[in-house]
Amino acid sequence: MTLRTYIIRRLILIVPTFFLTSLIIFTLIHLAPGDPIRIMYTASRQKVSPEIMASIRKELGLDQPIPVQYLMWLSRLLRGDLGYSYITRESAGKMISDRIWRTVELMILTEIVSVTLAIVLGVICAVKHYSLLDAVSSLGALIGYSIPSFWIALMLLLMFSLQLRWLPSFGVQTVGATFHSFLDAFLDHLAHLILPVGILSLGWVAYLFRLVRSSMLEVLGQDYIVTARAKGLKERIVIYKHALRNALLPVVTYEGYSIGFLLGGAAIIETIFSWPGLGKFAVDLALNRDYPPLMGLSMVIALMVLLANLGADIAYAIVDPRIRYD
């Protein structure tokens, strides 16, 4: 199979995967005991007569059999209608597009910080295997992913925001502050980013670092590295050109899969820091049992993850010519 047929095959495979995902999400929510209309009015704290409930049920298509409801939901979804909130009556699509960039911002910054740190540390530790730095970093990584993110978030919030008052404790911008220049506003925003990005990176660096280090160690033991050294190449070139390039292959794949992992972490951190992104949105929707936007949001996230995974697989196939597309 050529690379092109592989990519086309993977693209086609996205379609059934997408439908299966929608089926899983729909089923999960519709397995829920309880009447959505009742939940809807309990959620918005309104009292409504049974007749009105029945007419709303009919209007929303909730009197139809479940498979019909699924198809109706799916067709609306495919037309870009993600549903309306039970509580605020806002369109889910708009609510999501209002928040998505805040999450994307967090994730991109986290990726930049984590990948840089992990590669630099991972390479140094693999080259200086068994050195003090290696031991300290490895133990640090173990600690880094054993620390519960929400707890360290609370602790740093307490220390840097509440006690020392160096950093803001919530939101994306200081409320009520007047900024004299764009730079002022930017710096203020940057200060709001430090804690969330730092904490999100902590776990991810720990994970990536171990990956880079072990993959680098594996590569450094290969024959072609011995050959490269034997023919008198400079150590720098051996490490950065011959070893690192190959060692980063598994990292590429993991990067694609990282989006799901990071989104989960983002939900917790966004909630603690009142960061108006998708993660906090999802938690709020679930706590309020506001199902239509929750389903829409789930599908948006699922699609993001699917595309990221596809991207990772294709990137992997391109950078590693040895891969067989089966």
């Binding site: 059934p16 995967t17 299966l20 995902t21 899983i24 999400i25 999960l28 929510i29 397995l31 829920a32 005991p33 309880g34 133990l139 173990l142 600690i143 992913y145 054993s146 620390i147 519960p148 993110s149 929400f150 707890w151 360290i152 609370l154 602790m155 919030l157 307490l158 509440l162 598994p250 899969y257 799901g260 992992f261 989104l263 989960g264 972490g265 939900a267 917790i268 909630t271 993660g279 999802a282 938690v283 679930a286 706590l287 049992r289 199902y291 929750l294 789930s298 996230i301 699922a302 993850v305 699917l306 995974n309 067989r324 089966d326």
Partner: protein, 300 residues
């Protein structure tokens, strides 16, 4: 991926001499003992287990007892780790919380094991269409963010509590287990001893359970050791976020009720989190040591 797996299976079949089971166990134990960090990890896990078992003896007060007029008291000789916003002893809560956390970790892992093993075994052994379908589903469940999936499922239930969280986590946490077991089965079913068993007319279930499964044991043990702390983490994270029952005696619940007091009473949030960290570190250290000692590679 296939080629890598095949390479591994070839390496496995090349070995002519295979030490007896007892000898192998001895080798593993010796390797484990040599890794000081693994011993420390095991010590931590053992300590946590002891605390959980002896909670009624260790805890100085009844966990639910509220000391009126002593709400949010700082650590003192009377309340070693202070009291929470309702006047409950934080130390007693942390001690009893060990029980909940370990129970959650073990119970969710058990469910994961049942589901993941079944799916992995069937997929890997029978292959074909059933494998294709099961792996598609696995791909989806694995790619959806864990937290999203958990809160989606949890928001369905009217009742809140630790058992619901265990069930949901266990039934959603199997994909990695299924994939790894499937991978092992794919390589092992091509080995000579399976062929021999098949030619002798052994039934499929017998080959699966008696011939192949025991050979995947070390991988499964390592996976379980690193899954337990992640369940402990998710349970406390979910309870912290408000998806649990805040009256359950768990570390996450204390973090949840302590959050509003963060500014005035740091001890309420500090100690349960420290306990989660401590136990996770123990399991992760031990899991790392086990992985090296059992020589398990977990790359899918």
């Amino acid at each position: 991926m296939d080629s890598r797996l095949r390479a591994r299976s070839e390496k496995k079949t090349e070995k002519v001499h295979r030490p007896s089971r007892a000898t192998r166990l001895f080798i593993v134990l010796r390797k484990l003992k040599k890794s000081r960090l693994a011993v420390v990890g095991f010590g931590i896990v053992l300590f946590a287990a002891m605390v959980a078992l002896l909670a009624p003896i260790i805890a100085p007060y009844d966990v639910q007892r509220m000391f009126y007029g002593k709400e949010a008291f700082p650590p003192s000789s009377e309340f070693w780790l202070g009291t929470d916003g309702g006047g409950r002893d934080v130390f007693s809560w942390v001690v009893w919380g060990a029980r909940t956390s370990l129970y959650v970790g073990l119970a969710a892992t058990l469910i994961e094991l049942l589901v993941g093993l079944s799916i992995g075994m069937i997929s890997g052994y029978f292959g074909g269409l059933i494998d294709e379908i099961l792996m598609r589903i696995t791909d989806i469940v694995i790619s959806l963010p864990t937290l999203l999936l958990l809160i989606l499922a949890l928001s369905m239930f009217e009742m809140r509590g630790v058992h619901i969280i265990i069930l949901v986590m266990g039934f959603l946490g199997w994909p990695l287990m299924a994939r790894v077991v499937r991978g092992e089965f794919l390589t092992l079913k091509e080995t000579t001893f399976v062929e021999a068993a098949r030619s002798m007319g052994a039934a499929s279930w017998r080959i699966i359970l008696r011939h192949i499964l025991p050979n995947t044991l070390s991988t499964i043990i390592v996976l379980v050791t690193i899954d337990i702390p992640s369940y402990i983490f998710w349970e406390s994270a979910l309870t912290f976020l408000g998806f649990g029952d805040p009256t359950t005696v768990s570390w996450g619940a204390l973090l949840n009720t302590g959050q509003p007091y963060l500014r005035f009473a740091w001890w309420i949030s500090t100690f349960p989190g420290l306990a989660i960290f401590f136990v996770s570190l123990g399991f992760n250290l031990f899991g790392d040591g086990l992985r090296d000692a059992l020589d398990v590679k977990l790359r899918e």
